[in-house]
């Protein structure tokens, strides 16, 4: 007598339950991912009059998106691969896409929670209020922007097998993005660095977030930034999927 194949919905809901539980148990890390951009936002209160609320919000959400992709997702994938968690799932009747779909759904939830928290902190502490369309488009841009860093994280995990090397590499990339991203764009690192920053994954994500929060200000530059962001996502995801090995041994 044969055992029938369980439905994909059953498999996916079981994986989602486990992945959300895992995320919940790692809530200290989750709180840090949410707190850091909120604290930056609150500390920038004095800059908001000069640069605008959308500038501050978009920078802070970009910092949070970086953390979700580069600190959260990549490290969890590298650790579970190293421990053989994926190999155990792969010998079960689980389509491989559903393993990653479940993981990415958790990250999507993280993006929405973090963005909501930053928007709420903006309203409560800095009195930054957007239009409903600004919030909606800002959320959509956060998801699109988050995909860049998830793709980049996937590429790093694909390229590097050792979990500890993945952790140190993603920390370094995170630090570079944040420092050059925040200071490069305002011109303190020179004009060339400013241009590179503008079209870097940090700069384009920040740009589409900022433009999304002010739909009336969306221009051709914003469309270019969106296209570059989507291109980054495609390239990073392609490399991440191509290079990725389910087993670190």
């Amino acid at each position: 007598m044969q055992t029938n194949l369980p439905s994909t919905a059953t498999v996916l809901s079981s994986l989602l339950r486990a992945d959300f539980t895992t995320q919940w148990r790692n809530r200290r890390g989750v709180i840090m991912v949410i707190l850091v951009p909120c604290i930056i936002l609150i500390s920038w209160k004095g800059l908001i009059e000069k640069f605008g609320g959308a500038f501050a919000l978009s920078n802070c959400i970009t910092v949070g998106l970086n953390a979700i992709g580069l600190m959260g997702y990549s490290n969890a994938i590298a650790r579970d691969r190293d421990k053989g968690v994926f190999q155990r799932l792969r010998v079960a009747p689980v389509p491989t896409w559903s393993i990653m779909m479940s993981r990415l759904t958790v990250q999507l939830a993280m993006i929405l929670v973090m963005s909501t928290a930053v928007f709420a902190a903006g309203v409560y502490f800095d009195k930054i209020v957007l239009t409903p369309a600004g919030y909606a488009l800002g959320m959509i841009m956060a998801v699109i922007g988050g995909a860049v860093y998830l793709g980049l994280a996937q590429a790093i995990v694909g390229l590097i097998k050792n979990a500890e090397t993945v952790t140190s590499t993603t920390r370094l990339v995170y630090f570079i993005f944040i420092m050059i991203g925040m200071f490069g764009e305002i011109g303190v690192l020179g004009k060339d660095i400013g241009t590179i920053t503008k079209w870097s994954p940090y700069g384009t994500v920040k740009h589409i977030l900022s433009s999304g929060m002010q739909p009336g200000n969306w221009d051709l530059q914003s469309t270019y930034a969106l296209l570059v962001t989507l291109s980054y996502t495609l390239v990073f995801s392609f490399l991440g999927i191509k290079w990725f090995k389910w087993n670190s041994r």
């Binding site: 044969q2 055992t3 029938n4 498999v11 486990a18 792969r90 079960a92």
Partner: protein, 260 residues
Amino acid sequence: MQTATAESVLQVSGLNVFYGSFQAVRDVSFDVRAGEIFGLLGPNGAGKTSTLSAIEGLIKPQSGSIRIAGIEVIENPLLARANTGVQLQSTSFQPELTVSEIIRLFAGIYGVEMPNEKLDGILANIKLEDAAGKRFGQLSGGQQQRVSLVIALIHNPRLVLLDEPTTGLDPQSRRQLWERMESMRDHHHSILLTTHSMEEAEAVCDRIAIIDHGMVMTVDTPQALIESNRANPEVIAASRKGKITLEDVFIGLTGKAIRS
């Protein structure tokens, strides 16, 4: 001891696995019968893991056929996996999940209903009722093996693949695992076991295949292997105590050289 019937639950025929230009498995063929414990023995790098990985569907062989309960693994990998229970050598689960959460996760994955009473029964059966809320990483090696074995059997598969399941276990846990394997056989599960322990192979396996350099060198019952190689000069040379053991046969057939 053997209660196997002639029906094959696993049929491997003409299996060839390459890694680039290196051929890890060469024309391997064997079958595992219903209600049989079948041992796959070989030195390091002999091709055991590659053979097992191909059966598990983790790697795609270049040629050959693998059928599990009549299902062609290469054509229907998910259905074949739904009919196979697996305990991997280096299995782990998300360390944040508790024992009961892990069991529920895999019950869901295999489409098995898991009401609380059934879960309690499973935990009691493996003497982990007090550890239901413990995280997997907090369990001892023996307890982790018991959880892994429960998950391998959660969907009552016809074929169970055990990859060096007693490595790192103390003698008590090892004996307990042997008894569980025998109990599984009594419940008509077929087991494909890889091990480096000749004692284990002799104690629990109904038949054994010795594999080396990617090829199956011989397949028979442990006793028949000893009998048929009693006069083999290489086996006699490998014998240490004057009495031919399965280990002597293994060393005689695969050589004394240490493999990487």
